[in-house]
């Protein structure tokens, strides 16, 4: 795996793993059909508790990011939604509201906020394109 965990972070290790894998999938670093390391292998590699890794995999499976095929192992599913639904848009809207609060307190004005969103979007597209 290309990532490490930060045991000293406030974020539980299983959530760190979930976030990293979700990010890797969104960035196209992990692609549908890619095989995930076994719980044991990943636990050993990161010197962490196998139950923690298993918990992360369970969460990812619930979210449909990975799929487990019995003894063959776990794979990136490729089953993510092609279009958004109402609930998905609401989650993003809420997150944007939080960013707007943060922007206010850090003196980032509306104009700058728009520019930043545009810049990040372009950057994102570029990275995904080359990855």
């Amino acid at each position: 795996m290309w990532f490490d965990i930060e045991p000293g972070s406030s974020i539980p290790i299983y959530l760190q793993l979930v976030n990293k894998i979700r990010e890797a999938v969104a960035r196209g670093i992990l692609e549908p059909g890619d095989r995930m390391p076994t719980v044991r292998a990943l636990a050993s590699q990161l010197t962490t508790n196998p139950n923690t890794v298993a918990k992360a995999y369970q969460r990812l499976e619930q979210e449909g990011v990975i799929i487990t095929l019995g003894s063959k192992g776990s794979f990136i599913s490729g089953n993510w939604p092609g279009h958004s639904d109402e609930q998905g848009r609401r989650v993003i809207a809420d997150l944007l509201d939080k960013l707007l609060v943060e922007a206010f307190h850090r003196g980032v004005n509306e104009e700058e906020f728009r520019e930043l969103v545009e810049e990040r979007l372009q950057n994102w597209e570029k990275e995904r394109g080359s990855g």
Binding site: S9, S10, I13, Y14, A43, S44, T48, N51, K55, H105
Partner: protein, 312 residues
Amino acid sequence: MQNLSIKTCEISKSFEGLTALDNISLQVPAGSVFGLIGPNGAGKTTLMKILMDIIRPDRGWVELLGQSNRQRSRIKEKVGYVPDVPGMYANFKCEEMFRLGSKLNHHWDWERCQELSKIFEVPKNSRIHTLSRGMKVRISLLMALSIRPQLLLLDEPTAGLDPIFRREFLQIVMDEAAGSGTTVFYSTHNLSDLERTADTIACLNQGRLLFQRSLDEIKESIHRVQFVAEEDQRTVLNLPGILDYQKSGRIHIITVEGRWAEVEAALDRCRPIYRERLNLSLEDAFISLIKKDTGDTLTLDAHGEGIEEAAQ
């Protein structure tokens, strides 16, 4: 019901009138990696020794792997134990220690022993007293793992070891937990090791069980926030679940227990004009909980007295 590897029920022990353990009830689920923490003298080693039946509790009982004290000798064959001071015959060669181990335990697995000897680079023909502390700990762990244990008890196993060997040690133990489903119960002062490896933590303080909780739960339920607020200190100190409070200039720094959404809502009532969530390691959380338990931190009565003391 969940399968338990260790169950203790209301264990108490005192030495010459001094209470070492006071009414300890612990449940360690099978397959978990369970960390035991606490300041020096909290009773960790006494608890380990009671689990291994090296000393008897004054009150209470213990079940290991589902069996009570009386049938313990057979159960002990399935329990690997690495004591705080490795007990080995100083004049034996390593190989002789292994032969002794194989005779003392039916479950001894020579293959596993050889495999680990290679990994640990054990000098088989050296006598125990000539070895470094690190090597003695390796051998102690090797012998505990060679019996293919269902339960591994480690009493401050990584104390005084260099970081490289510490990592190697943890990796071997994690491999064991992942591969064989062995339950691991270990005491340590090294919270960053625990943070990496444990799923559940119990904390002893002055012989009492302060808490037993999953590590994820601790991380999700204890937060540290710094903020500047319009409301005064009195309001801040009256926030629910405060464990620790510091003030630096206009900035309040609080460590608080509760669900984040609730903490956030409570904070809003102090009308913050700036606020930032700080990272909180297990060590920080642990110190806050111990301070709160010991009463070092400010505890407020209904009238808000003691505020001045906290502000200094």
